[in-house]
Amino acid sequence: MITAELLPLAPFIVLGALLGLDVVAFPQAMISRPIVAATVAGALAGSPMSGLTIGVALEFFALEAMPFGSSRYPEWGSASVVGGVLFGRAEEGTAGAMAVAVLIALIAAGIGGTSMHLLRRLNAAVARKQQARIARGSGSAVTVVQLTGLTIDLVRAGMVTALILAVAVPLYDRILATFVLTPVISRAVVVGTASAVGLAAIWKVTQSTAGARWYLLTGLLVGFSIAWRVA
């Protein structure tokens, strides 16, 4: 039953696995960033523009999380695939489609982040198990530790994508069937929330660079005038 439900989602699960791997393990080329991952997932679901739109909203959130060393942060690769698939499947103009897709993607990012934390502990256990062989200078033991880590991460990201999609796809359809607010309000709430998080993140970055706050304020003025003219 579950297998039959997951089968049509298989391409997205593979995509989620590959993009989840990119977050930390390999190759860190940032194909896992929301603006890329959600767009690709949206394209696979039949609507690259919807994927890009939700990718932009999630990218605002991703500006907040810098992947510094051993810090814990949300995992955007598989989460963006989830968001891109959900929003890409929804018909254009569906009330609440964007807000609910972003909400589910944020929850997925949190779950993905927790799974990465567990993966790091598992990697440490694998390394400890191979420690004696590595200390004796076994090249194959070093390779085993590295390849095991990469494989587990790939499986982890695939499982996170599969589990979230299995729950989220039917739930998403049910919520949207009962959602009554207009799509414009839904988009406005998402943009307002996402931009606020993005702006706060950039404000934080400016604290470590002299004069950067003035550059940000100037940029905001320029950006606001451009947006105002075309609105």
Binding site: E64, S70, A124, I134, R187, V189, S195, A196, A200, Y215
Partner: protein, 253 residues
């Protein structure tokens, strides 16, 4: 250390360079990228006296798979320098001292240059492109192309400069881009992100000055709240609460 740079076959270089991309494949809280460093160096270490079965190879692998923490891209500098030191027969104690001394700077410079500079800058440029109406494929290619110029370039440069200078690589780390780059990138990021945020926001919500003005006004207030709450809750967590409330309201209404 020998004055003349030793030579490595092209396939060894390619093997080391490609392994750099999996530097964090076994990242963990105990050895951090230590195993990744050993994994990346391993093809070059096979050229130590006695080959992969010799005692020099065994000692070097054991040494380098221990704790090491650095930015994953700039870890390439350490890989190049340590490979050179091992093949030059530098004493183990000197190599250990370098490992301890190099980790901090290679971490902090990389974090500031890439995670807090180049990544948000490329991200902001892509957001701006979206807001100005660029097609999805253009936005993707722009972001990935720009970002990976520095990403791949840093890994390649780091490996070469580390190999060329060996344990004296600290002088090479005085390069302009590492010294002044983070500050310039911070200012550029601040400006471009400032332009991109309202333009991209408009790209999502569509036409209508009243709506745009209301949303951007709310963004300014909400951003101040998120900044005030920093340390207690992260923005994306607060957003879950807001969107959950909005969804429940939209369904229950």
């Amino acid at each position: 250390m020998t004055e003349q740079t030793p030579r490595l076959p092209v396939r060894t270089w390619l093997a080391v360079f490609s392994r750099l991309f999996a530097m964090q494949g076994a990242f963990n809280y105990e050895t951090m990228v230590g195993n990744g460093i050993a994994f990346a160096m391993e093809p070059a270490l096979r050229r130590l006296p006695g080959g992969p079965r010799g005692p020099a190879y065994a000692a070097a692998l054991g040494r380098h798979s221990g704790y090491f923490n650095a930015h994953p891209y700039l870890a390439a500098v350490a890989v190049g320098a340590l490979m050179r030191a091992e093949l030059d027969g530098v004493p183990a104690a000197q190599i250990e001292r370098f490992r301890v001394a190099a980790a901090g700077p290679l971490g902090s410079v990389g974090d500031r240059l890439v995670w807090a500079g180049w990544l948000p800058l490329c991200s902001s440029i892509a957001l701006l492109a979206f807001g100005l109406g660029a097609a999805p494929v253009t936005v993707l290619l722009l972001f990935l192309g720009l970002y990976n110029v520095l990403h791949v370039g840093l890994r390649g440069w780091g490996l070469v400069v580390g190999w060329r200078h060996g344990l004296r690589v600290a002088s090479a780390l005085d390069a302009w881009i590492l010294r002044r780059g983070p500050a310039h990138m911070g200012r550029a990021t601040a400006f471009v992100a400032g332009v991109a945020l309202p333009v991209a926001a408009h790209g999502i919500i569509g036409p209508g000055r009243a709506l745009l003005g209301t949303v951007l006004g709310a963004v300014a207030v909400s951003a101040a709240i998120v900044t005030t709450l920093r340390g207690k809750a992260e923005g994306w967590q607060l957003a879950i609460v807001v969107l959950l409330g909005f969804t429940l309201y939209g369904v229950a209404r």
